[in-house]
Symmetry: C2
DNA sequence: TGAATAGTGTCTATCAGACATTATGTC
DNA sequence: GACATAATGTCTGATAGACACTATTCA
């Protein structure tokens, strides 16, 4: 416990403090087979060897931004690069986690990030992982994740659920052109609740800048029939106004 | 630029990376004379000696949580402690800032926090600051703050403006009992826009759990006349439903 | 007495959600 | 032909915002 004198000293010589490591972890979400999936890696070494964890790693401090570090870690486990898809992934900072003891080796502050990705190829483990897989979030939430990653995942899911209410980021889960039904499937998967198709349709089209028509029509209709849907692409809005609010969640309000 | 081998090594010996320091900075907001103020300190030593900066300091890694570090730094500059007021301050994490070169001395990742405080006594400089003052945010935004603190402050202000839309945290700027007019003054100060008194009044009372009546009435009315207002305290809602949306900001939507 | 304020009432346009309807595809 | 789906229409209740109005207090 440094006193005032040591505080002053530390201002000039911060390395006097015990060492800290800074890592990034990524909650990468995508839609696979209509379900929300999160990217997990199986740890190849201790601690928590063999356990599933969020992809992440140490920041190359001074040589990259936190966002670049997160993108790098994500690229390592997905096989994407700037040209092949990574540019279309939405990546934002989620929050930092630094409770004492969260890593048994040494003090580690992890800057967690949240990624929304369109359907990606199968994951491939990076250098320090034994395995990498897209896992349905229900399974991931029930699993025993390493470190405090269960909490980070929960925070990321809540952020995602909230974010698509007032931003058009649900489109980040889809290809460049999509139908209103596909967009609705995103909301249903992220919120875990069914939505009324007709009302959703009218609502999306009524929000300025959310989507814009391509003029084209989907090649085929759904597997179970119906007319071929019109195609849309993301519009230029950065905020949805009015927002698409989640169905009642009275319970979480108090 | 470590290759795969070095990555693997680093997983077991993370101290192989160049040293990183972790700090907390605090955007502490309060209302003084009807205006939104932010707590600033004048730096006592290099770098940026003499410049105004957000209060902050190094995290005692492994010995405190990030939130505890932020509370400690805030206490040092305000003279508050757990008994005297600090408990009533709302403190939340804002985000982390780690761009290369943001601190000329070494790589520093700062975990910024945001605090909402009721009107506090005059600030007093902590050990490593030459001065500490509550500054109207207009002045603070116009000033040349140290490091990347101008951006952190801007992010904190935007977070505050957004947060009082859908949470009851505007009450954190007030004493335990307050009038609807005082609550409206908070919104007007944070949003920087005048609100319609009558509509605001009805709206606040219609949101379940936002405020609850104490049954009492203010001792005196406003300095310019009018009936004595009823007193309220914060209710048990954690989210406002429906939310109090900011007046039109069409410009920022696209 | 005049002016500012607290609190309530009223009206209108908008919106969310329930429900119905028509047209168009697949199986 | 049965059935699911795309897209649109209609209705109701809730809400935001504009405006009006009364009562109360200070200067």
């Amino acid at each position: 416990m440094p006193g005032d004198d040591e505080d002053l000293l530390a201002d000039y010589d911060p390395t006097a403090y015990p060492p800290v490591a800074v890592t990034v972890d990524v909650v990468a979400l995508t839609l696979r087979n209509g379900a929300l999936n999160v990217l997990l890696v199986r740890r190849g070494g201790p601690p928590y060897q063999g356990a599933w964890a969020l992809p992440g790693g140490f920041v190359q401090a001074g040589a990259e931004t936190l966002g670049q570090a997160a993108a790098r870690e994500l690229a390592e486990e997905t096989g994407l690069d700037e040209e092949r898809g990574l540019a279309r992934v939405h990546l934002e900072q989620l929050g930092s986690y630094g409770d004492p003891g969260r890593d048994p080796r040494l003090a580690v502050v992890s800057v967690a990030h949240l990624a929304f990705a369109p359907d990606l190829p199968e994951a491939r483990p990076g250098s320090d992982a034994a395995d990498a897989r897209w896992v349905p979030v229900d399974e991931a939430v029930a699993a025993d994740l390493a470190f405090d990653h269960a909490r980070i995942l929960a925070d990321g899911l809540e952020r995602a659920r909230s974010k698509i209410e007032y931003t058009p980021l649900a489109t980040a889960f889809l290809r460049k052109e999509f139908t209103i039904s596909e967009l609705r499937a995103v909301y249903e998967a992220v919120w875990g609740a069914g939505l009324h198709a007709g009302n959703f349709h009218r609502k999306v089209l009524s929000v300025p800048g959310f989507v814009e028509s391509t003029g084209a029509t989907a090649e085929r209709s759904g597997s179970r029939g119906g007319p071929r849907a019109r195609l849309y692409r993301a519009g230029d809005a950065r905020l949805l106004h009015p927002a698409l609010l989640r169905p009642d969640r009275e319970d979480s309000v108090r």
